[in-house]
Symmetry: C2
Subunit: 151 residues, 2 copies
DNA sequence: AAATATGCAACCAATTTGGTTACACAAGCG
DNA sequence: CGCTTGTGTAACCAAATTGGTTGCATATTT
């Protein structure tokens, strides 16, 4: 595994669950499917539960289940639940000596925040039902944008 | 510093250079501006040079300079030059036992690749001249997209 | 009570990362 | 020619991140 394995694991699991929303799955089952460890699964899925995407039950017949119909869970929900900002760094706001540098720093931070926001918007267009759906391709339609000249 | 410090450093430096395209800057100067180390600067900027965004000269009056007019360098160029895929993991294509799981895995990978591609498209709309430009706000105009119902 | 499953803390090994030092090489200048 | 300046690169270090693992408490069903 490498970068984004948590997001990958989350999408994989939710996509699987979207196919059988009523079935309760144990972390051990999920770990088998995903080729990882049960504790790791509970770690990642725990954050999704905190975000209200999943519910978990303890005890003998316990396990994990979707908290909502799969058509109501978008990739943005999953991404935000994991709380991993891919492009935008955490705020530092440390005032540098030179105001010019400070302004540039803020501008870079703003740009990255905007890109992050756009990423979330894009993710919100796809649900985990789309992830599960076997036949159809990904509905991420690229918005028409002016093509820049390569040179 | 934390995640994306390389991208942040690159954008910061290029944004600075966009203001004075003819000036040659040493890595020590850049490191001072960015609050980091000269070797780190050369590490990051070296990848930008490999991508043809910067040129560097050794020796007495050496240093770093833009290889192209700043209006021709987009954030996508910078992002791709650094070779850090934010959302898409590297290809593994290891065939799992269960074909259903394998298909799901591929679908998740495809989705993440699509998101990555869309991210690059979004980044290509902004040039480092926009990063430098002091007054204007970030021109990342969000494409009109159908608002999904929150529930 | 026994079995099952989550919740959670603690720890480990591998990887990543920024920082630092050291040194070779190149280019201009006295 | 020798000195200075600056890039290029390797080596190493410390900190942070991360997935994996073990152990144990707790809850729930049988």
């Amino acid at each position: 595994m490498k970068r984004n394995s948590r997001l990958s694991l989350a999408l994989h699991t939710l996509g699987h669950m979207a196919g059988q929303p009523d079935r309760v799955q144990t972390s051990a089952e999920i770990a088998d499917h995903a080729g990882t460890n049960a504790v790791v699964v509970r770690r990642v899925l725990g954050r999704l539960r905190e975000a209200g995407l999943l519910v978990s039950e303890k005890g003998h017949a316990g396990g994990w289940q979707l908290a909502r119909p799969p058509s109501g869970i978008t990739l943005a929900d999953v991404y935000l639940a994991l709380d991993e900002r891919l492009v935008a760094p955490a705020e530092s706001t440390d005032a540098s000596c030179c105001s010019v540098e400070n302004a540039l720093h803020n501008r870079v931070a703003n740009i990255m925040a905007d890109v992050e926001e756009n990423l979330v918007d894009e993710l919100s267009k796809t649900t985990i039902l789309d992830v599960h759906h076997p036949a159809k391709a990904v509905p991420v339609q690229t918005a028409p944008f002016e093509r820049k000249e390569p040179r």
